[in-house]
């Protein structure tokens, strides 16, 4: 089966710019959610997605068509997100998101407290572990996809994720949850 994305990539390379628009339309939300989960800031995430797609467009000739376009744009967005997060002066939107809406039940209050503590536990992880946790548990990527995006063998993805989970477990216990 011919990958439809590759057709769109080739059409773009042949000057049909609207085909790149179809790729943007297809993946913009996935990339936005990835960038948002890494940075926890919607404005920054939106900028990252735009920059990532522009970068992909400019480097499209160097895209290896034996690979999936999804993994390529995903890796670009992930790297941009991690770098932007390091440099960012933004504060997290998580607090704003949590403050939005009325709190009506004790259960909701408890959930919000839990979210803040989990976020803190994730933030304490090294970038390489944090990334794996986000990709697996928030983006729900398979091990195959993680291996392709991170460009490391599946066995290594698994062993790193196991270590990441172990550190996360320890951090969560430390926060008293």
């Amino acid at each position: 089966m011919i990958d439809n994305d590759i057709l769109l990539v080739n059409e773009t390379l042949n000057g049909k710019i609207e085909s790149f628009g179809m790729l943007v339309e297809k993946y913009q939300n996935t990339m936005f959610n990835l960038a948002y989960k890494v940075t926890m800031n919607k404005d920054l995430a939106k900028d990252i997605v735009q920059d990532s797609f522009i970068r992909a467009f400019e480097k499209l000739k160097s895209f290896n068509q034996e690979k999936r376009f999804f993994s390529w744009i995903y890796r670009i967005t992930l790297n941009e997100s991690i770098n932007a997060k390091k440099r960012s002066r933004f504060t997290d939107n998580l607090l704003e998101d949590l403050a939005g809406g009325d709190i009506t039940t004790a259960e909701e209050i408890e959930k919000r407290e839990l979210m803040l503590k989990i976020k803190k536990s994730i933030d304490q992880l090294d970038d390489k572990y944090k990334t794996l946790i986000i990709l697996k548990h928030y983006q729900e990527l398979s091990y195959d996809e993680m291996s392709e995006v991170l460009n490391i063998p599946i066995g290594k993805v698994k062993s790193r994720l196991y270590t990441a989970r172990e550190y996360l477990r320890i951090n969560i216990e430390k926060t008293g949850q």
Partner: protein, 248 residues
Amino acid sequence: MKNQLLIELTNKFIDKELTSDNQLVLNDLLKDPDNKKYFESMVNAIDKLKRCKTPEQYIDIKNQLMSKISQRRKENIMEKILEGLSSVFIGSKYGYAVSFGLGGLVVGLLLFIQPANYHVDDTFLKGVMASPDYDKTYYLEEQGFTGAVNIKYSQDMVLIDVNLKTNENIDCKLNYDKTRFALFGVKPLSNNEGSKFASHGNSVRLSNLDSNQYLVFLRYLQKNDSKVHVSFYSGSMMVANLTIDITK
């Protein structure tokens, strides 16, 4: 040190990858209270993590993004034409004259495709800058450059003064909410050759901030609180950014 087998099987359990044989081995391992404690602690941690998953967010940046890409494409085409012209006419007898003429044509085309630029004249500036006091200042201390973004409110508009101290070619992009502001004008305070700016959609791009200072004027469309997002770039790499709260 924990049993490696226990760690592997616990993770397989979390990933729902346990075979029936694995399950039997795990059950056996969990007879040990320490192992059971570890297993429950890990499963609980991952369960909490999953419960905290934020809902998916949706955006639609396609049109905005595609117009940026189209603009860049046009600029690249013009750059290529210029490169082509210089290579064709180098060494030609009439090279300078022809290059000059065609160069003028290309500059004309560049101006034609360039998004609207809004220049602010000095008379206006003197009036606005009569009082140099700023209402708010955001300081930047990055590797390679320092500086400040100053804010000044007036009756109908807000002035954003971008002033960096750097020897690098840093670009700056300001994004604002088009329903709240309209771009009134931009003024580079020194006339370096590389100093230029362009506006497009809801953003203004200031080029080459080495030793230059830009004043950006946004006119209020609505006097509600809003934010202006400022990003700094070295080439295509974003090196810093900040969000300005417009509170007046």
